[in-house]
């Protein structure tokens, strides 16, 4: 289980620090998922892991494979672009669905829908 690529010391230091930072930030985001009180606060928490945590770990992977293969290896940037593009879309869709559900049930205080109020007037 304990194994690692054979990197020179400076590359090992960079990869290690980036990995540890990315994993810690992802854990902080997930702890926010546990600790925060309402759904509208919780929906912000995992984006910490999706942006900074994912980018740090992917940069660590890019540095590791570039040093191992002695050429620039940047295919991990695809995952980075994809996650950065999709996370806001999914979470905004989810938050809109939650607002719709809370409004239609009406027992959790959410701000009223101004568009439908104007139509009703």
């Amino acid at each position: 289980m304990i194994q690692a690529p054979d990197l020179p010391a400076w590359a090992a230091l960079i990869v290690g620090l980036l990995l540890l930072g990315g994993a810690t930030i992802t854990l902080v985001g997930s702890l926010g998922l546990l600790r925060l009180k309402t759904f509208y606060e919780r929906v912000h928490a995992p984006t910490l892991g999706a942006t900074l945590g994912a980018i740090l770990i992917l940069v660590a992977s890019m540095v590791c494979f570039s040093v191992l293969q002695s050429r620039p290896v940047i295919h991990e940037i695809l995952i980075g672009i994809f996650v950065t593009l999709t996370t806001p879309v999914t979470l905004m869709l989810l938050a809109r669905a939650a607002i719709y559900r809370d409004r239609s049930e009406g027992h959790i205080p959410v701000p009223p829908d101004r568009l439908t109020e104007k139509k009703a007037e």
């Binding site: 990995l19 759904f39 892991g49």
Partner: protein
């Protein structure tokens, strides 16, 4: 020496990512409402994707990168479909 340091750091970051996946799983199982469960699922697949990237660094093989890319694509599709279902009551109109 540097290899031992890197091995310990990679294992530690895998444990941290595993803990974050555990938090997401707890929110997915206990979440008071359906949107909390979908949010937990989103955080869970993100943690799994990052864990696969760290496995790729550990073994030095690019196989895990492709698996992580597939998890990212399918997880996005799954979360969008579940959000649409919560909004409309059906996925494809």
């Amino acid at each position: 020496m540097s290899t031992l340091f890197l091995a310990l750091v990679i294992t530690a970051s895998q444990i941290l990512l595993g803990l974050s996946m555990l938090c997401a799983t707890w929110r997915m199982l206990r979440g008071p409402r359906a949107q909390d469960r979908v949010l937990g699922l989103d955080a869970l697949y993100l943690g799994a994707m990052l864990l696969l990237v760290t496995y790729g660094i550990q073994t030095g093989r690019t196989l895990y990168y492709e698996a992580a890319l597939a998890i990212g694509l399918l997880g996005f599709t799954g979360t969008v479909a579940l959000g649409k279902f919560l909004m409309r009551g059906e996925v494809i109109e």
